[in-house]
């Protein structure tokens, strides 16, 4: 019966009718609610395993919370004030930045150069391109163990090679700078090719006619690279810099496995203990969850600050 009503009539009719028909109500609800249901899995998962732990960590960081405590003691910001006076934390922060700089900076420069080379007309192009990705495919743990062996202080291959060219062996475990170089080399080995491919993809998206116009105007290859390629790579470079900042400041596996006896101290005198490694040590060796949570939050803030800073620097530098 209602199906015969015209559009104009319907509104009037609805007022008098107590409820619209069931089928119509359901499909209306469907149209309104379904889209939210479809996107819900992401948000539900994000809230459960992203947002909730983040906020709960902030909550835990306000307590003197040892693992297994039945009623932890609320101590406000004391974990944070202890943390800022903790030499081991500042040392870990220094190590993290040092390893980050030694890895990310050369890595991005080299990645751009490799991308430019791969962008040239090469024989067996796909082969070369897949080749630079190989280190990324290899298992991180296997890679770290092999590098740990290469950088062995007494019987490592690197020291043997250095000996051949007359350089006295370096104790990669004892020296702060040496251990940072060793760890940064693992990071570089793994990530340079990956970043090169991302930059290569961006390079190929640059329209050919821009280069042709420059060529006609007599611009050299170097000039074309600096005046066309680099500026047009900007969005991709920002992405690469920000992701490697986030990854670099959270470095954990490499320094953890670099410790020969399997501890979490990052060297006998914490020569290469990073912030995340210190966090891990506090939480799962010291069982001090409150303190570890405070470290996690401070690191979170540092990552946001540095990623933001890098974002602005990259945007400004590459114009």
């Amino acid at each position: 019966m209602t199906a015969t009503l015209s559009k104009v009539d319907r509104g009037r009719e609805q007022a008098s009718l107590p409820r619209p028909p069931r089928r119509y109500r359901m499909s209306n609800l469907d149209a309104k609610v379904s889209p939210y249901l479809f996107v819900a899995p992401f948000f539900v998962l994000f809230i459960a395993i992203g947002l909730f732990p983040l906020l709960y960590t902030a909550y835990v960081s306000l307590f003197d919370w040892e693992i297994g405590d039945d009623d932890p003691l609320f101590i406000g910001f004391e974990n944070y004030s202890t943390l800022f006076q903790d030499d081991q934390f500042w040392n870990a922060l220094f190590n993290t930045f040092s390893i980050f700089l030694l890895s990310s900076a050369p890595q991005i420069v080299v990645a751009i150069v490799i991308a430019a080379l791969l962008n040239a007309n090469l024989r067996a192009r796909t082969g070369w391109r897949m080749g630079v990705l190989l280190p990324y495919v290899a298992s991180l743990v296997a890679l770290t163990i092999i590098f740990g062996n290469l950088f062995g202080p007494q019987y490592g291959l690197v020291n043997d090679v250095l000996g051949l060219i007359g350089i006295s062996p370096i104790d990669w475990q004892a020296s702060t700078f040496g251990s940072h170089v060793a760890i940064a080399s693992m990071v570089n080995w793994r990530w340079t090719g990956y970043n090169a491919l991302i930059i290569l993809a961006a390079m190929q998206a640059i329209p050919k006619d821009v280069y042709e116009a420059a060529l006609v105007d007599g611009a050299s290859a170097l000039r074309r690279f600096f005046s066309i390629t680099l500026p047009l790579l900007k969005p991709t470079l920002i992405f690469v810099v920000v992701t490697s900042t986030i990854g670099g400041l959270q470095i954990f596996t490499e320094p953890k496995l670099f410790e020969p006896s399997g501890g979490s101290g990052g060297g006998a005198e914490h020569q290469y203990q990073t912030v995340v490694l210190y966090l891990y040590q506090s939480a799962f060796q010291g069982f001090d969850l409150g303190y570890a949570s405070a470290i996690a939050w401070v690191l979170f803030m540092v990552v946001i600050a540095v990623a933001g800073l890098n974002f602005f620097l990259t945007r400004r530098a590459v114009k």
Binding site: I67, G68, P153, D171, S261, G263, A268, E269, Q281, G286
Partner: protein
Amino acid sequence: MRHRWISVLICAAVSAAATTACGTGGASQTADGKTELTIATFNEFGYEELFKEYEAAHPDVKITQRKTGQGQPHHQNLFTKLGAGSGLADIEGVEEGYLSQFMSKAGQFNDLKEIGPKVEDDRWLKWKTEAVTTKDGKVMGYGTDIGPLAMCYRKDLFEKAGLPSDPEGVKALFATWDSYFAAGDQFIAKAPGVAWFDSAAQVYNAMHNQLETGYYDKSDKLVVDTNAAIKANWTTVTAAVAKGQSARLGAFSNEWNTGFKLGKFATKTCPSWMLGVVESQAGPENKGLWAVTDAFPNGGGNWGGSYLTVPKQSKNAQKAAELAAWLTAPEQQVKAFKAKGTFPSQTKALDAPELLEQTNAYFGDVKAGALFATQAKKIKAAQYKGPADGQIQETVFSPALQSVEQGKNADEAWKTAVEGAQKAAK
């Protein structure tokens, strides 16, 4: 449309049911009405055949083993689930290295004297039970195996350096720590390129565990800076390092393994289970070069070995304790020793013919079982371990000794160690 809503509801209901089903893990009854007992172990306890035997004798019990490959993840899991308040097995294995941490949480485990069956008092070596007895006399675990210390040494290197090399002759060198380090001086003078021991921490920890009082006194007060014996040990070991007696190879590292292959050190503090490690690391090419003798400086010592414990979380604590008591009886531990070589902690098992006749081909057919049984009986008492004792040894003193081996000044490293211990004990 309606169907969709119904299916959404069903999905939600099913997943809710599934999660609750997972959430009630550790249910104590199986479908056919048997009591299910879970037991969590790591490495090899050698219990697999024993479980079958026990199930045959107790038709109402079903045993489920949760086996972890390595000790570290097992204990991390143990302490995390202790914190979470659920998820532990009815019987949990605890290794000696984690004992201080475990004892500081003794309140969350059952007193086996109270809930367990009657067990003869002298079943275990005295020091083994002492170490899991709380100050008010509660027994928190049944001993399974131990790692009595002897001294391993390279016969060929001893001969080259002009030291006695037969098992009887070397005993004088290993009588006290003084004679041990004096022999080390003699050795390195005549064997250039080879060190006396593998790493400072390996020697220091054995010396430390022989002290009457360790890092803590019995009232749980940290005494690192006031216990003169600790400083004396530190001075002795770091002096030996300064003279070049240490190969500076951190235990269980890759370089340590290489050191075994290349024969870069002449002696090694050797708990019973270390013989297998030496064999696999030194490899067939060094067979017959390593020897072991039933002597250890200043008496004896122990490194390793485990206990079975029953957490309060267990819903079948009494039956779990019965099983644990049965497993740790001498007869069963001798079987476990035959299966996987875990060295028993039970006094009667130490006299069992199976154990006394066991030989080790890699170490020149030495009667290893009898040798380590002798060493086990030399241990006088268990040193009292305070709450952060394990952590102080692992993350403070061992790295500090390593830093001395890396060239740090011994006095500065001592200051770092004392401060580190105070921080860990906080």
